[in-house]
């Protein structure tokens, strides 16, 4: 029962995907309709060609010798027809390329913009390479079907209907043959498709996994080399390569049955047409079938019927061939749509509160949170932070320090409790407004492929060059940048031979310095910077922290010691809360940690 239901649901989903894909085409109707018109005209013209060549031959055959003027006339008309037809088919191709490119462009755009709305958790769960694979392999697959097969299907429908009408006019009984064979073709196609579909779905999935693995390993190429692990990693890559290729072969292997079989059914119907046509003709000749009866047929009628049935069968063959490609396009589209249908970050409150002039008071009220509901990371935490205060978060690794920051930035929302910003519930504030109130420097420096200047100005697009240089100077990176051959125009590369990790971090600090956000998050902001440079940028850091509410995760004592409040986070709870002196007096975890350095 449930199996049946699932099957039904699946096929409904399938149809949904095809319809949705069709929607993309329909939306481009301004190109699609001209494409259809060009197709019909160009086909019509190329059919006219033979008629004039026939007329020319008739003129050659004319009684009383070759009628040259007539031959020339027809030859010239023929040339004009063909030239027009060629022109139209070129225009058609151009229109189709524009059409499919618009659709593909739009699809990629939607996909990417969707990705940007997804919660950060999505990126933790899905391999980068797999995400890339949606935008490259999947979209490409859809593209090749759209640009090649769409028009072909359209012309085919035209031909099928046209031939059917002619056949109907010639002999109604003989159409009965197709009443049997066409449903057989359709049923067979349906039957095969249900078998082949999951294979194509698997193929797309395996390609995605393969790409994911390739991406992951390429990112770690230096470490793999340092350990000489190339062969082992290649071995593992090959396992995934094998899995992808096996899935690919399996899909192709099973799909290979369809086209020739449909072709066979069609050839059998044509054979039947010839045989029954022949028999009917014989009865017509012998008088068993009277002239005027629907069974009556002439020799010319048989010949014409055969010709039209061949015309009729051609597109049906094509359909089954295209269906093969269509299957992979549907599987790819399914993957694309699945991303488009991912749950985005929950909607902002429809009536967001005004959040412009930020003072920087933050309250955590009984916050409980876990990334998965079963595993609570933070239990019943209450913190009250006043504007301009510095909060240091201290605790063993994995105790939930970064989680506090995820909650502050609303990368995640708590399961229970309330966070308030300037006494406004954070859930009522638009995420973009809320995040604009922060600037942050993280341990994992993130720079993109662009010039150093672009990377610094990223934090505030309207900053003047002077402000950018000033920020770089405060971050003690200006001199280094100036020493590079291209200065601020140096393009940052992936592995970054020209820029060390510490220098990258200084660039992100310069980026943060440009921002005028009232709140600051520093998550191991100087972990890659040597302590001498750190000391040199201390003034700038102090300046950065001045008048701002700061959340600091750090291990440098001086930073922690001067914080207004130190939060000790252990095992999902804030175990200690207070300033340095208070916590030392308390004699808990903090004082143990503090004292351990003097041992």
């Amino acid at each position: 029962m449930t199996d049946n239901k699932n099957k039904k649901k699946r096929s409904a989903e399938r149809r949904g995907i095809a319809i949705r894909l069709g929607g993309y085409v329909i939306r481009q109707w301004t190109l699609f309709i001209p494409a259809l018109i060009f197709t019909l005209l160009s086909n019509q013209l190329s059919l006219l060609g033979p008629r004039y060549s026939g007329a020319a031959i008739d003129a050659i055959e004319a009684a009383g010798g070759v009628n040259f003027p007539e031959v020339w006339k027809n030859v010239i008309i023929m040339i004009i027809c063909y030239a027009l037809s060629a022109l139209l088919s070129y225009l058609l191709a151009v229109v189709m390329i524009h059409l499919s490119q618009r659709i593909i462009y739009r699809m990629r755009k939607e996909l990417f913009e969707k990705l940007n709305t997804l919660p950060v958790g999505y990126f933790d769960k899905n391999a980068t390479g797999d995400i890339i694979s949606h935008l490259s392999y999947d979209v490409d697959t859809i593209n090749s079907t759209l640009s090649h097969d769409l028009v072909q299907v359209m012309t085919s429908i035209y031909t099928v209907i046209g031939s059917l009408i002619f056949m109907w006019q010639i002999s109604k009984p003989m159409i009965l043959i197709f009443v049997f064979t066409v449903p057989v073709s359709i049923l067979f196609t349906k039957f095969r498709s249900t078998k082949v579909r999951p294979l194509f779905r698997l193929r797309s999935k395996r390609y995605g996994e393969l790409n994911g693995y390739a991406e992951e390993m390429l990112s770690g190429a230096r470490s793999i080399q340092a350990y000489g692990r190339q062969e082992v990693i290649c071995g593992r890559f090959n396992k995934r390569n094998d899995a992808a290729m096996d899935a690919c072969y399996n899909a192709d292997y099973n799909a290979a049955l369809l086209y020739p079989t449909i072709n066979l059914i069609n050839n059998i119907s044509i054979s039947l047409v010839a045989v029954f046509g022949g028999i009917l003709y014989m009865y017509s000749q012998s008088g068993t079938v009277a002239a005027g009866s629907i069974f009556f047929i002439s020799l010319g009628g048989v010949a014409q019927f055969v010709q039209y049935s061949r015309k009729f069968a051609g597109p049906i063959n094509e359909f089954s061939n295209i269906l093969h490609e269509f299957q992979s396009a549907i599987s790819a589209a399914e993957r694309v749509f699945r991303v488009l249908d991912e749950e985005p970050e929950p909607e902002d409150d429809p009536n967001p509160v005004e959040f412009n002039v930020v003072k920087g008071n933050i309250d955590f009220e009984n916050i409980t949170f876990g990334y998965v509901p079963e595993k609570t990371i933070i239990k019943n935490v209450t913190i009250n932070v006043k504007s301009g205060q510095t909060i240091a978060i201290v605790g063993p690794t994995g105790a939930g320090k970064t989680t506090v920051i995820n909650l502050l930035m609303r990368f995640y929302d708590p399961q229970s409790g309330e966070i308030r910003m300037d006494s406004l519930p954070a859930l009522k504030i638009k995420r973009s407004d809320l995040r604009k109130a922060y600037t942050m420097v993280l341990q994992d420096t993130w720079l993109f492929h662009g010039t150093i200047y672009e990377n610094i100005v990223y934090g505030r697009e309207d900053a003047t060059p002077e402000q950018v240089y000033e920020a770089a100077k405060s971050a003690k990176i200006h001199n280094f940048i100036e020493s590079l051959p291209d200065g601020y125009d140096t393009v940052i590369t992936d592995d970054g031979v020209n820029i060390s990790k510490g220098q990258r971090q200084l660039i992100t600090i310069a980026r943060a310095m440009l921002s005028d956000a009232p709140m600051l998050i520093l998550d191991e902001a100087t972990s890659n910077v040597d302590s001498r440079t750190e000391l040199q940028i201390q003034d700038a850091m102090n300046c950065l922290m001045k008048n701002r509410t700061c959340f600091v995760i750090a291990h440098r004592l001086s930073t922690i010691q001067n914080a207004d409040t130190i939060l000790v986070v252990r095992d999902g709870a804030v175990t200690e809360q207070g300033n340095h002196d208070e916590l030392i007096k308390l004699g808990g975890f903090y004082s143990t940690l503090y004292n351990s350095q003097f041992k």
Binding site: A93, C234, Y259, P396, T439
Partner: protein
């Protein structure tokens, strides 16, 4: 393209059998219209039902042969093309992993990635298609030309005269097409780059509310890619209309010439009619060839990019081993200089000797050349001048395997991949569970690992996003020491550890790995102060070398670093 043929050579037997079967199937299919014509013209008029039926059966028989032949041949084609692209992708990926740092920088990771994925996929598609469609068209073409030549030489020559023009057109469009598709693939690289960067930096992007900016940045590459694909597509789509037009002009020419021939009594109208029918077949074959040709162009562009990597000369060379200098030195830097970009020396005249079992600390400002020092020792790059020796032998005399088996490395840009903790420590080497646990204990990682659900079998996510920075570092240290390397390199690998854990780690290392030479690169004086020698670098030059106590006196910069860290570091 010749490289692809070289790859396909392995499958030539299977391909030949496949082509043969396909040819049989295709011929069986091509016979069908002849039988049909025969039935209509000669059999029906005999008014014998049995005869009609037996010819019908003959048609069905040929249809079955065609069907079976096509199925078998297409399946064989699928096998060959998947085997082919499997082998190609395997070699490409393997080569990619062996590329030197310099070469990887040159190709860039997003580009290497799209070569492994979309380029290989393009080539795969072509190889598959050429086997499926590449038989029918040539048979029709050659057969058609043969028959027409047989029927009427002069008319056939008129038609054949168009062929050179067609080939010249196709050739010149192809010459234009390949670079266009290479351009398309380059745009794919840029698109992959943006997606890759954004998935990695999603937190920063969201924090700065840069969604719109990123959408625009992506839109730029997306637009560019669409534009290039469109341009290439439009150029390529001239082929088919031109080809068809030329063929049809040929037909017109044939009719015109036929008029004279018939007028002179050298040909008959019936011949011309038959001729026209074959001509239609030939032009259909040409159309199918033109579609293959478009795919060929795309494939050639991708093949270029793939073999650019595969045939990239290996810049890792091995020199002869010389008479070993036997002393107690473990490794030696002899007046080494190096520059990444060939403009400014990133390391200058570095000379240094480290004895077996000694420990060396390297300290210096950001960008002072610490990591460069290490990259040279690991031979990620070759020195510009000077020489590095390990155990008295030139660094360049060691094979890759010899070299890597000596080192245990914990690099700054840590690499954690989606697998269990155990596997991340083991890293595909033959290391017993016992040794893995021991290594984890030394790295101070055992406690937190066993606290996880599943312990050592706990699944890490890609880049280790489901554990903290300090935990990541300890797993990486465990990986570095698990095989008991001769030389252990820790590049800033305990920066996220708290003071206490760091101290415990140092103690365990000196106790358990007393035979190993340990190189510690760090920013904290506390991490290096117990080393036998400390190298102080600034702007690629040595400004101090010696013990902690001596450096405090001799090296003002070192003293400054040390003073700045007084009061130390508290917790992670």
């Amino acid at each position: 393209m010749k490289h692809i043929l070289a790859y396909l050579k392995k499958y030539r037997f299977r391909m030949a059998v496949g082509f043969l079967i396909k040819t049989i199937g295709t011929l069986a299919e091509l016979v069908l219209p002849f039988i049909l014509t025969h039935i209509l013209e000669n059999v029906i008029v005999t008014l014998k039902i049995n005869k009609v039926i037996s010819y019908g059966i003959l048609m069905v028989a040929f249809s079955i042969i065609a069907c079976v032949g096509n199925i078998v041949a297409n399946r064989m084609a699928a096998r060959v093309s998947t085997d082919f692209s499997r082998a190609l992708r395997k070699d490409l990926f393997s080569k990619t992993l062996y590329l030197s740092a310099r070469e990887t920088d040159r190709f860039t990771i997003p580009s290497l990635e799209s070569r492994i994925t979309t380029d290989t996929y393009n080539v795969h598609n072509f190889v598959n298609m050429i086997q499926r469609m590449g038989v029918r068209a040539p048979i029709l073409l050659i057969g058609g030309i043969g028959i027409t030549l047989f029927m009427d030489k002069i008319l056939a020559l008129v038609m054949i005269a168009t062929l050179p023009i067609i080939f010249i057109t196709v050739y010149s469009v192809s010459k234009k097409g390949v670079p266009l598709y290479i351009g398309v693939q380059k745009s794919v690289d840029s698109m992959v780059r943006v997606v890759r960067e954004d998935t990695q930096g999603i937190r920063v992007i969201k924090a700065l509310s840069k969604n719109e900016y990123e959408n625009r940045r992506y839109d730029k590459v997306n637009r560019e890619l669409s534009k290039k694909e469109r341009h290439a597509g439009v150029i390529m789509s001239t082929v088919n209309p031109i080809m068809t037009l030329l063929m049809n002009l040929g037909i017109a020419g044939v009719v015109a010439v036929a008029a004279f021939q018939v007028a002179n009594g050298k040909s008959s109208a019936a011949t011309v009619i038959a001729f026209m029918q074959y001509f239609t077949l030939i032009s259909m074959a040409m159309m199918s060839l033109s579609r293959m040709f478009v795919m060929y162009t795309k494939c050639a562009a991708s093949a270029n990019r793939i073999f650019e990597v595969i045939n990239n000369p290996d810049d890792f060379y091995i020199t002869e081993k010389s008479e070993a200098v036997t002393d107690d030195s473990h490794f030696v830097f002899d007046n080494v200089s190096f520059s990444y970009l060939g403009k400014k020396d990133n390391l200058k005249n570095l000379s240094l000797t480290v004895k077996k079992g000694e420990s060396l600390g390297v300290i210096g400002a950001t960008g002072s050349g610490k990591t460069t020092f290490l990259k040279l020792l690991l031979r990620f790059y070759d020195t510009d001048s000077g020489e590095i020796r390990i155990n008295g032998q030139k660094l360049s005399s060691y094979s890759r395997e010899e070299l890597t088996s000596m080192f245990g490395v914990c690099l700054q840009n840590d690499f954690i991949y989606a697998d269990t903790i155990k596997e991340n420590i083991c890293f595909g080497r033959e290391i017993t569970d016992e040794d893995i646990i021991k290594a984890a204990k030394i790295a101070q990682a055992d406690d937190f690992i066993t606290s996880f659900e599943g312990g050592y079998d706990y699944m890490l996510s890609s880049k280790g996003t489901n554990i903290s920075g300090g935990q990541r570092q300890r797993i990486l240290i465990a990986r570095a020491i698990a095989a008991r390397p001769e030389i252990l390199i820790l590049d800033d690998s305990s920066s996220a550890l708290d003071y206490k854990t760091d101290a415990a780690l140092r103690l365990a290392l000196s106790k358990e790995l007393s035979n190993s030479t340990v190189i510690t690169i760090a920013q904290r004086v506390s991490s290096v102060k117990s080393c036998d020698n400390i190298l102080v670098l600034e702007n690629g030059e040595v400004i101090g070398y010696g013990k902690h106590e001596d450096l405090l006196i001799n090296c003002p910069e070192y003293k400054e670093i040390s003073d700045s860290q007084m009061g130390g570091v508290l917790v992670d």
